[in-house]
Each structure stands twice: as C-alpha cells, then as structure tokens.
C-alpha cells in the first residue's frame, strides 16, 4: 500500500488503549445494534454506555441477513430495521453522540452490503466526519481488503480484523497485515451468543496472536456475565460483550415490541456490572 500504513492511522482507539494500559486494566467493549429497539431508545442507550463503564462502543449497523450472528443479534437487527433504522440514521447517532463525548471510541460493526450500497467512498468520508474510529465488517476478510479496508485506512479509520480458532499461524500474518486499532479474537467457532470458550483456550489463543502483533487483542463471542468478562480481562486487552447486552433490550419490550419504561436503565445497569467485573482485574 502506498504512503498509508495501517499503523499510521491514529484514532481514539489508540489513545483509549494507551490510557487503559497506563491504568493497568483491560477495556470493556460493548456491542449494541444502532436503533434497537427504536431510534430514540437506541440513542439513549448509546449515550449512556460510557457512563455505565463501556470503554469502547461497537455499534451494529443493522442488516437483513446477519449470517455470522446467532438469534439474539439477528433479532436486534430485525427490531432496528422494523423501526425504520437506516445507515444515514446510524451515522447521525454517532454524530449526536460526539456532541457530548469526544473520547470514547466508536467502532461500527456489521456486514458489507449496506456499506457497499451506500457507496464506499462516501461512507468512509461520512463515517469519519461523524466521529467513527473503526470498522469491523464480518464478511470482509483480508482477501477482500481492497473493498473497504484500504479505503478506510486512507480515510483515517481503523479497520479491525477478526481472527478465529481456525486462523492458523500461517494465515495470521496475512490477516494482521493491514489490521489496525485492535485485533478481535472470535473465541469460539460459531455464531454470536451461543457458546463460551474455556479460559485456558482463550489464554493460549491470545498468547499466540501476541506473538504476531503488538496491537491490543480483544476477545469476544460468548461472554455473558461479569465473571466471564473478568476472566477474559485477565488475559486479553479487551472483553467484548454483545448478545448478553442485546438480550436486556429484548427482555424489556412490551407485547407490541415497544420499549418498556425501564429498558435503558436495565441495559445500562447490566453494562455497569460487566464494567465492574472488568475493572476488578488489575494488571
């Protein structure tokens, strides 16, 4: 790649990980779907997450066909779409969030088609302007890096790669070649929200990845409790929790699928418990 290297892309992610390292603890990364269960409630959750202890926010871009997700996140995408969420509104929510918080990194996570349809160049420009720091696009492996990874780096946005138990030592360098921001280790072979990995396996996998990169390593898929988050925090640089948070949204809907009054508090209280778990672990 000419001129730009992945390492030279500076965003809030780098600063946040550096600050946490100085603090001697791991990050809590929380996933919620933008506009779940509706735009207004989703925005309140988003705005409340840093206060509840989320160090980094993964914001899901709803998609009709989330192939790598289990039932919980599939349903959250469906709720958001049913409530009329669009890509433009997702970016607007980031923009609104940034009027109050200019430090918490936001990573947009999702699938390529809505981005491709929006237009890659326009998307990168609009996302950067809105205050997005990184992208995780599940169906864009390094084989397809020219689609969005390279344009994103050029536009000053980190492109975060997933690695999996199936990513062997031979393949890892290829995956890490243009990785930046952090590396996301998918700790199980499966969809989101279904199974959890054993701590020893996660430990071994994180060590293996560290032999290949200096980037912070986040671990996700299957973390559902404050204890689970603490376990991961003791071996990795970040613990990612998604389905378990999204399930708090699901559990606080009325019969028509509308947000019950306490929904936002329930989600944020649970986030706080996760954050307490992560913060207990000192390094």
């Amino acid at each position: 790649m000419n001129a730009i290297t992945a390492k030279s892309v500076e965003t809030r992610l780098g600063k946040r990980f550096a600050a946490l390292k100085a603090e001697g603890r791991a990050a809590l990364v929380t996933f919620v779907t933008a506009g779940d269960p509706d735009a207004q409630t989703g925005l309140k959750i988003l705005q409340g997450l840093p206060g509840a202890g989320a160090d980094i926010i993964e914001l899901g871009m709803p998609f009709s066909d989330p192939m790598a997700d289990g039932p919980s996140i599939q349903a959250s995408s469906q709720r958001a779409l049913a409530a009329g969420m669009t890509m433009k509104q997702t970016l607007d929510q980031v923009r609104t969030f940034r009027t109050q918080d200019n430090d918490t990194p936001i990573v947009l996570m999702g699938y390529y088609n809505p981005v491709y349809f929006y237009g890659v160049e326009k998307f990168v420009a609009d996302a950067k302007e809105a205050g997005v720091d990184g992208l995780i696009i599940v169906d864009l492996p390094p084989e397809e890096e020219s689609e969005l990874c390279l344009p994103a780096l050029k536009g000053g946005i980190n492109f975060i790669y997933l690695t999996a138990p199936t990513t062997d030592d031979k393949r890892l360098p290829r995956v890490l070649e243009n990785a930046s921001g952090f590396v996301y280790y998918v700790s199980i072979t499966g969809v989101t929200g279904t199974a959890s990995a054993a701590k020893a396996d996660v430990d071994a996998a994180v060590s293996r990845i560290r032999r290949h990169t200096d980037l912070p390593v986040a671990v996700g898929f299957g973390i559902t409790t404050p204890e689970g988050a603490a376990d991961v925090a003791s071996v990795a640089d970040a613990a990612v929790v998604g389905s378990a948070i999204v399930n708090r949204v699901r559990d606080n809907l009325d019969e028509q699928g509308r947000a019950k009054p306490g929904l936002v508090d329930e989600v944020l209280n649970f986030t706080k418990k996760l954050a307490d778990g992560v913060r207990k672990v000192k390094k």
Binding site: D65, G70, M87, N113, Y116, F117, P141, T166, T167, T189
Partner: protein, 407 residues
C-alpha cells in the same frame, strides 16, 4: 466494455468474474473455503476422481440424459424446432444430482464426516440426501418453512433418505434464509462438516465448482445435437435460480458466437408488483452469501424478499458468472411471470406427456413466446432441468383443486 477473447476463462484466482464473485466470508470460515478450493483443484486433475465421478454419473444418475425433439410442441408453436434436454430423467428428477455426485466425492476425499446443504425446491436437498445415503454420511438440510409447505413431497423424500430437515423460520422463510442458516451451521461445525452448496453461487470456489460439475449438460448437448442435426443449435434457453442448470448448459457454448443464449428469471406476479425474483432485471450489484452478485435490495442496501411460484427460483440473487455474462452482453436474461410458467407447465404436460418442474417451466414459457416467430430450421435447446411431481400441490392450488378431496 472490452470483449474478452474467450468467455470461458473465469473466474480469476480470487474467484472474480469481472466485478462479481469473490470471497466475502467471515474469518472463521475463510480457511475452510480455501481448503475446499485446494481440494477441488487437486481432485479435478486426478484421473481417479474423474473416473469415479464419470462412473456414478453414468451408472447411478443414468447419464447421458436424452436430448428429445419435442415434436408436438414444435408443431403447435409452428416455428423453431424445440429440443428438450431431459435433466428431469436423471435419478432424483433434476440436474441437481450432477453437482451432488461431484461434491460428495470431494467431501469424502477431504475426510469430512457430516454434510449440510440449503434447499429451496427441495431438489438439491433430495439430491444431497440421496448421495449421503449412498455414501453413508449423515446430512442436515436447511429449508425455509414456506418451501417445506409447498414442496412437501420432497421433504418426505429427504426424510426417507435419512436426512435431518431443519426448518428455517426467519426472514422470508425460503432459500435465502436457508442459506443463512446453513452458513451459521458451517461456522459452528468447522472440523467435521462440508457445506454442499446447491447452485452456482456463494463464495469462491463454489460458483466455479458447481458450474464445472453441471457442464456435463452442455457438453452432452453439443454431441447430441451434432448427431441429430449435424450442427450447433441457434438458441439455448434455461431458467435461473442461482444459475446452476443454466450455466451448465450455457458454458460449453459461450465461445460459439452464433449460438444465442437466453436465461429466464422469475418475474413472479409481475415486475410492476414488486413481487418477483428478477435480480438481473430489477436488482443492483451487492454482496450476500459470500459473493458479489445482482441482488434485490431496498434503498438502504437491505436484501429484499423474492417471490416466485417456483421455490427453486425464489432467491433475491443470481450467481456471479451470470451477472458478468449479463453485463458484457453475452447472455440475454429475460423475466417470465408465474402465470406464463404455469401456462407452459400445462402445455408441455398435455402436448408431450412430460410434467416439468415449475422452475423449468420458466424456460419453456420463454421458448413458447419466441419460437412461433422463428423459422422452422431454427434449432432451439431448452433445458428441462427437472420434473414436476414435486410441484403438483402448488399447481393444484392455483387451479383451486385440493389434492385428495375434489380431484
């Protein structure tokens, strides 16, 4: 756009046909997808594999399938001479088995112990369950509940063959969603499982591999028509779901400039109603199920539900090689409505004593549309991709007949 010297070279090493195709796959599956590609490269150059596949195609499937001159249909239309490539006479009743034989032999070579597949019409599910019975490998078939209902005979066949059927209740409850669920299963069972993709779409190498396995259709037609007519056909017609029966017929003829090639997509209740599956006519390039292809999508890049009376064509995308052939103009793609397909279904049944699959009826319908205006020495080959027994419930319903009650 520059015309290539040959239309038969694709895909490139990364699985692209022009801008279409590719490997848009989650990291967990990426190593497995590379494994399949490598194993296939080795297998296709291995004389043992080629021999074994040829054996099963002839002795088990019953190939070659006849190229039958549909004289009464030809007479009735009063124009082009219409030949039917009788894929409906294959064991299991459709072209799908050409592909499942190839892939099950590959899965065996790879040491896989469990097979998964997606199915719409159930023909691919039946063809998969069949080869899994033959080779004693357990299989799980994903099928949307809407399709389970309208293709009940095939569901029962799969059960008899020992397959586990997993009903898919999300989204449109049809082929697209069955594909999503199969991918989710594959991610969750990476060590044991082979994903036996049923059409010429999905992540590379599947569009290429499925095409290669289906090319036996077009290769036979070349020989058979030379024998019958002493020359190549003027027109080929085939229906398109994901595109496997069509690409199998078309590919061996792509470089024969004088052969006009037409693919028919399902126009459902009519393009103007929005209830259709005409991805080329009404879709835009997008990325789903591992590849870039024309896709039916809304103004925000969300995939739309397709609609067709035929479960096998009820898919919002179309295989990448067809997308490319469409863009460069080598193949013409035309929409055919439910009503036109049903009319063709009845016509062929009455005139020739052949009950075609509703999918294949879309190809016949277009042949019926254009044949009358063509000269009598015009040779047309229509791919009769499958037989229609599976569709009798659906057809009965369109006639207001309840099976077993008011026959």
């Amino acid at each position: 756009m520059n015309k290539p010297n040959t239309f038969r070279e694709g895909p490139d090493e990364t699985g692209h046909f022009g801008i279409f195709g590719g490997q848009f796959v989650a990291e967990t599956l990426m190593p497995l997808v590379h494994d399949v590609a490598e194993a296939y490269e080795t297998a296709k150059n291995d004389p043992e594999f080629v021999k074994e596949k040829a054996y099963y195609l002839s002795q088990y499937v019953g190939r070659p399938s006849p190229l039958y001159l549909a004289q009464r249909l030809t007479d009735k239309l009063g124009g082009a001479k219409i030949y039917l490539k009788r894929e409906d006479l294959n064991h299991t009743g459709a072209h799908k088995v050409n592909n499942t034989i190839g892939q099950i032999l590959l899965a065996k070579r790879m040491g896989k112990t469990r097979i998964i597949a997606e199915t719409g019409a159930g023909q691919h599910g039946v063809a998969t369950a069949t080869v899994c019975a033959l080779f004693d490998i357990p299989c799980t078939i994903y099928m949307g509940t809407k399709d389970i209902e309208r293709q009940a005979p095939n569901v029962f066949r799969m059960k008899m063959l020992g397959a586990e059927i997993k009903p898919v209740t999300v989204g449109s409850c049809s082929l697209k969603d069955a594909m999503n669920e199969a991918i989710r299963d594959w991610v969750s069972n990476v060590d044991t499982t082979y994903f036996l993709v049923g059409t010429a779409a999905g992540m590379h190498p599947f569009p290429m591999m499925v095409r290669d396995f289906q090319c036996v259709i077009g290769e036979e037609v070349r020989e058979q028509i030379m024998e019958a007519e002493g020359r190549l056909p003027d027109t080929l017609v085939a229906c398109i779901g994901g595109g496997s029966n069509a690409i199998g017929l078309f590919h061996p003829f792509l470089d024969d400039a004088d052969v006009k090639i037409i693919g028919t997509e399902a126009a459902g209740k009519g393009l103007e109603t929005g209830l259709h599956a005409a991805s080329l006519t009404a879709g835009q390039p997008g990325v789903l199920h591992g590849n870039r292809m024309y896709l039916l999508q809304d103004e925000d890049g969300q995939i739309m539900e397709a609609d067709s009376v035929s479960a096998g064509l009820d898919y919002p995308g179309i295989g990448p090689e067809h997308c490319w052939l469409h863009d460069i103009g080598r193949v013409e793609y035309v929409p055919v409505t439910d009503a036109e397909a049903l009319d063709a279904f009845h016509t062929l049944t009455k005139l020739e004593g052949i009950i075609p699959a509703l999918e294949s009826s879309h190809a016949i319908a277009h042949a019926m549309k254009i044949a009358p205006d063509l000269p009598q020495d015009h040779i047309m080959v229509v791919n009769l991709s499958g037989r229609g027994d599976k569709d009798l419930n659906t057809v009965a319903a369109t006639m207001g007949v309840e099976m077993g009650v008011n026959l």
